[in-house]
Amino acid sequence: MQDFLELAVGAAASGCVYGLLALAYLLMIRPTGIINFAVGEWAMVAAFGGFLLLSKLEWPYPLGMAAVLGFMLLVGWATERIAVRPLVARGAPLIAPILALLGMLVIFREIVSISFPPDPHPVPYAFGIGRLDFGLLGGSYQSFFIIGVTLLVFAATWLFFERTLAGRMFEAVALHRRAAALMGINLFRVTALSFAGGAGAAGLAGLLVSPNISAHYQMGVPLAIQGFTALVIGGVGRVEGALLGGLLLAFAEQLTVRYAPIPSGFAQGVPLLFLMVFLLVRPTGLLKARA
């Protein structure tokens, strides 16, 4: 039990990172139907942003974080303009923007790999290295920071969708694009916003996780798969599903590593097995969409 509690805070923090990545997918899939695998590369770009501003230029953390997130919104918006809007405007099949985004994925990765040497780049912790204990529960400063920020983001997103007019607009587009257009909703603006939001969420995930794993140009694809697995577990129907999926995935991963008698390398396979099993057995995810 002691053992498990020891693990809990760290696992919850990883789960939050997966949850943010799943949220990034969800923000784009719901209004457009587009699965954007470049989510992992966005996280990677933000991690390198963190390295540049926080490690190299030594900006204060809040300022650096705000600058990176602002930049990510811009990246998301630009991605949509370049690789998505021309195709949607032309009425191309849904597969076209998805493939175009795979092209963008490679472009992002290669630009970073050209611009930085291939070794891992350190990114600082938000509050330095330290440990916080609440009775039996304990974890690093960064873990608590990740959990706090993620809960804030999910609460804000939930309020946006449930309580604001703009959020309702997103929902309407998610339910029926043509009907939403007839209601006078600007589809392109919704799409642009969803991509900006997606890049913001993915960038935040990258920035938060990078102190633990360091910024590296190949960090994107594993994050993209973990985020997607979280989304598949939680289901695309509801915002809170993304967080739930992320947490379940992280706990499953950590518990397997800790207690299952398999070589540690196979632990990388756990999310993949999870993904396949969920796709095959319960493709709608755990949470049903609200009617």
Binding site: I35, I82, A83, P86, L87, A92, I95, A96, I98, L99, A100, L102, G103, M104, L105, V106, I107, R109, E110, I111, S113, I114, V221, I225, F228, V232, P263, G265, F266, Q268, G269, L272, L273, L275, M276, L279, L280, P283
Partner: protein, 307 residues
């Protein structure tokens, strides 16, 4: 007779070329031919049947590892190893395709992405069986009827593989099955109304092209006489997709052009961009999708008859 004549010409021409090339160029030529074989199969799956899968290159790896393990870990005779290798590819393909083609949308893409990643994990952790991270090396192709096949003669075997793959796919494409695949790609609901069993068509196309990739992998295993996990990483699955898109999805000639171009491009580009040719690939793919969805072959058609 005419059938033999039709395919014999290309076989002689393509394998004859191997005898004029140096050892180094034979090696490059072999690998290019294998990419062409892979791209032809992937084009059938993605371009003609409309299935986005990331597992094609993994099946290439499954074929390569299967034949090496069966030959040199279990000491089976070559024909048996080949047959069992194909059986393994077919079984894995069915296990992935049957559940994921039942569902709409991009489930196949995700399930196969997971499969491709899982395959590399299994290779790395396979211990003595797969040779772990360093793979298996220092073996050579067993003699066939006492003859040792090497040099340009081995290249000729690869030519046979490529022409055979092309012949099979070409015939399938020009049959009720190829039309069913295109119908499933263009409009699954209308295809079903025409009597096409959509799920079955998808499963057959996936299994068949995966098995072809596996057979190509078996041949590849004796090109470098080594198999190791990094060769079969996810990057090459993307490259295959890019070859087909840039060349022109849905057209055999497009797949060939795309495979040859993207395979040779790094050789020409390396003095200019070093190892960063992948960036050029990304830009090419984006440009193809945005500007010329029919790929280079579409551009070629356009130049041939301006309208």
């Amino acid at each position: 007779m005419s059938v033999i004549a039709r395919w014999l010409g290309p076989v002689l021409l393509l394998s004859g070329a191997a005898f004029l090339l140096s050892d180094y160029h034979n090696d490059v030529y072999r690998k290019m031919l294998l990419w062409v074989a892979l791209a032809l199969g992937y084009n059938f799956l993605f371009g003609i049947c409309g299935q986005v899968a990331f597992s094609h290159f993994a099946f290439y790896g499954i074929g390569a590892y299967s034949v090496v393990i069966l030959l040199f870990q279990f000491h089976l005779p070559l024909p048996l190893a080949i047959v069992l290798g194909v059986v393994i590819c077919v079984l894995v393909a069915l296990a992935v395709a049957i559940p994921s083609t039942r569902l709409e949308g991009f489930y196949l893409a995700l399930a196969t992405l997971a499969l491709a990643q899982l395959f590399v994990v299994v290779l790395n952790e396979g211990g003595a069986l797969t040779g772990g991270t360093s793979g298996i090396a220092n073996y050579r192709l067993p003699d066939i009827f006492g003859v040792r096949i090497r040099g340009p003669w081995f290249t000729a075997v690869i030519v046979l593989l490529v022409v055979g793959t092309y012949a099979v796919l070409w015939r399938l494409d020009r049959s009720w099955f190829g039309r069913a695949c295109r119908a499933v790609r263009d409009n699954p609901e209308a295809a079903a109304a025409m009597g096409v069993n959509v799920a079955r068509t998808k499963v057959i196309a996936f299994t068949l092209t995966s098995a072809l990739a596996g057979i190509a992998g078996m041949v590849y295993a004796f090109v470098d006489n080594t198999v190791n996990p990094p060769i079969f990483g996810i990057d090459n699955a993307f490259l295959l997709l890019f070859m087909v898109i840039v060349g022109g999805a849905g057209r055999h000639a497009g797949a060939v052009i795309g495979a040859v171009l993207l395979f040779l491009l790094p050789f020409w580009l390396s003095p200019v961009v070093g190892h960063h040719h992948v960036l050029v690939f990304g830009v090419l793919v984006l440009a193809a999708i945005l500007l010329q969805p029919r790929g280079l072959i579409g551009l070629f058609d356009f130049a041939k008859k301006p309208s």
